[in-house]
């Protein structure tokens, strides 16, 4: 079966007051039916820009090149009417910060029906059914957003994203503002829904620990590019790129003596997209960089000892 989402050589450049900002610089990725891809990276790495571009939800002045195929159709060449039909019905988004996404003066159920009216075709209200599905209960459809807790709002956003039976769910930091227990509840919910409906999911997060539970495959982004991609558990347990290594090490394993009283981080700051370092953009922060790293910008390539793994680092063997 062909991929639900296939992105090839995607470049996204913002126009800002300080000139053109290359936020995404050549990304390839694909998501198979029923698969969850975790996209991890820190603020400013381009992960949210990438997610928004998948449905062309970026400012009109933004330059996008490459291709984004959703169920075989290229999003970037679609006419407005086609795009409108693809949004929500083929792919929908669960945004971060549920507090700010919901309309505060509309009842939850009404907001869900609006999404269906705008993008789908159902003539009867499905809000109740969807709210039941996400464990909120149909009766909460009469509530206003302020009557719900953070976790409940996030559940209602998930209900809204499912309203038109999409093939792909794009979840942008869906659990970031939530408490650990509520976060676990939401992850479990997303996992159940994904299994029951055979959904594909793009799960974007800065918190790698969330992905261990959720993602079949994980891609790590740095400075607008994917620098490592591979099977979820294998990558999180044994990352090969020095940046992914630093990122995984910064989440302590409770009970592991090597991290007790040893918080680990990464010195330096992410690069300014307007002024990227030469060679590998990570080399100024890299603890194992060699001379070559200042001049050679390695593309993603297969790692020798893991078929499913690709890494963009001179130190990680060629296939």
């Amino acid at each position: 079966m062909s991929a639900v989402l296939e992105v090839r050589d995607l470049h996204i450049t913002y126009a800002s007051s300080s000139g053109l900002v290359p936020a995404v610089r050549g990304v390839d990725l694909e998501i198979a039916p029923g698969e969850t891809l975790g996209l991890a990276g820190e603020s400013g790495c381009g992960k949210s820009t990438l997610a928004m571009a998948l449905l062309r939800l970026v400012p009109p002045s933004t330059q996008i090149t490459g291709s984004i195929k959703l169920a075989g159709q290229d999003i970037l060449t679609m006419k407005p009417g086609q795009l409108r039909a693809a949004r929500w019905a083929q792919a929908s988004v669960v945004f971060q910060g549920a507090q700010h996404v919901l309309n505060p003066v509309r009842r939850i159920g009404r907001q869900i029906d609006e999404a269906i009216e705008a993008h789908g075709s159902a003539s009867v209200s499905r809000a109740g059914e969807l709210l039941d599905l996400v464990g909120l209960g149909a009766r909460r459809g009469d509530d206003y957003p302020h009557e719900l807790s953070g976790g409940q709002k996030q559940r209602s956003l998930i209900a809204m994203a499912l309203a038109c039976d999409p093939l792909l769910l794009i979840a942008d930091e869906p659990t970031t503002a939530l408490d650990v227990m509520v976060q676990a509840q939401i992850l479990q919910l997303l996992d159940n829904i994904k299994r029951e409906r055979g959904l594909s999911m793009l799960f974007i997060t800065h918190d790698l620990s969330v992905l261990s539970h959720t993602a079949d495959r994980v891609a790590v982004m740095y400075a607008g590019r994917i620098i490592e991609v591979g099977a979820g558990d294998a990558l999180l347990r044994n990352s090969l790129h020095p940046y992914s290594k630093a990122l995984t090490a910064s989440f302590p394993i409770i009970g592991d003596p090597s991290s007790r009283h040893q918080p680990r981080g990464l010195a330096g700051d992410p690069p300014d997209p307007n002024n990227l370092p030469s060679g590998c953009p990570f080399h100024p922060r890299c603890t194992v960089a060699i001379d070559e790293c200042q001049s050679v910008d390695v593309q993603l390539r297969h790692a020798a000892d893991d078929e499913e793994r690709s890494v963009a680092c001179v130190l990680v063997g060629k296939s």
Binding site: E42, S43, D179, S212, L247, I253, G265
Partner: protein, 334 residues
């Protein structure tokens, strides 16, 4: 541990919180007050790092504010260095030099119109410690990892990264050489790679300056990184407290066990996801405040052990269980 009402004056004890309650009055007439902090005992010793762990709404920030003297308590006692928190203006000022705070979001806590130098020097000026100001500011900035200090002194907050801003906030606290630093979610708004750097800094400062740190967090990984002891809070009460090693290796309260299971699931531990969310502090259940969500009660385990009745009717007190661990649960030891 601090026994009910009595203030300990052991030499190593720095802060003693004893049976502290904070109740916010009801919004409407006839409504119930919100018992945000509902009877907390806590001791912090000189130079130790204590993590206060809990979810939003558990009262951890209110308790931290009460310790800082920023929140009036409705019952109980708080003593710092053997004396009750001061009420006079002069006493408060002196106290505030010795106890400093670091908030979650460094962008919100820094004045955007002040340079780094002015931000760090402000505390010195307020407390009349302006002698040798330039040297003190420079030392504090470098101690907090911003060196050479000259490179940062004239910058403004918007010219710094999130991690650098938090270092400036910490430097502003450190110039006053506090004995206690209260850090409220000091890394939760920072990127993962910066998180470890800031935690390492807090740990180093605590050791070098023999400064106690109370770090308020929702993340159980943070105490494993830096804390000597952990207090777990649920709905206004500390339900379990102990050394980090003891408590994380062998959590005894069902709430702690559940919290730990959801962060440890990558180790293949079965997840214990609790149903529902933390209740409103106006509606604290009778008996054990955790019983409506407790897996032991829900699974019938409490019934089998013959404690179900106590769980629903009798408020459990923190009791020693293990070396330095205390737990408020009827099931422990049954």
């Amino acid at each position: 541990m601090c026994a009910g009402g009595q203030i300990m004056t052991a030499t190593e004890s720095l802060l003693n919180v004893s049976n502290v309650h904070v109740a916010y009055p009801a919004r409407r007439r006839g409504g119930k007050s919100a018992r945000a902090v509902d009877g907390v005992d806590l001791e912090i010793r000189l130079g130790e790092i204590v993590a206060l762990v809990g979810e939003s709404g558990c009262g951890k920030t209110t308790l931290a504010r009460a310790i800082l003297g920023l929140q009036k308590i409705s019952e109980g006692l708080i003593a710092f260095d053997g004396e009750l928190l001061p009420t006079s203006a002069n006493g408060k000022k002196a106290f505030r030099r010795r106890v400093q705070i670091v908030f979650q979001d460094p962008t919100a806590s820094l004045n955007p119109r002040q340079s780094v130098y002015e931000i760090v020097a402000e505390g010195l000026r307020i407390h009349g410690l302006g002698e040798n100001e330039h040297h003190v500011v420079k030392t504090a900035l470098e101690q907090c990892g911003l060196h050479p200090a000259e490179r940062y002194m004239l910058k403004y907050p918007h010219e710094l990264s999130g991690g650098q801003r938090q270092r400036v906030v910490i430097a502003g606290a450190m110039v006053l050489k506090p004995q206690l630093l209260v850090a409220d979610e000091p890394v939760s708004s920072l990127d993962a790679s910066v998180r470890g750097e800031i935690l390492a800094l807090l740990q180093r400062l605590a050791r070098d300056e023999n400064m106690a740190v109370l770090v308020v967090t929702h993340d159980l990984g943070l105490p494993w990184n830096i804390a000597d002891r952990i207090a777990v809070m649920y709905l206004g009460r500390i339900v379990e407290i102990g050394t980090t090693e003891e408590l994380l290796a062998n959590p005894k309260h069902p709430y702690t066990q559940a919290l730990l299971s959801v962060v440890l699931e990558h180790l293949g531990m079965p997840q214990q996801i609790l149903v529902g969310e933390m209740p409103d502090p106006t509606e604290i259940a009778s008996g054990c405040r955790f019983h409506p969500r407790c897996p032991l009660v829900q699974s019938g385990e409490a019934q089998r052990r013959g404690i179900a009745d106590r769980c629903t009717h009798e408020d459990p007190l923190l009791q020693m269980s293990g070396n330095q661990q205390s737990v408020a649960c009827h099931a422990v030891g049954v």
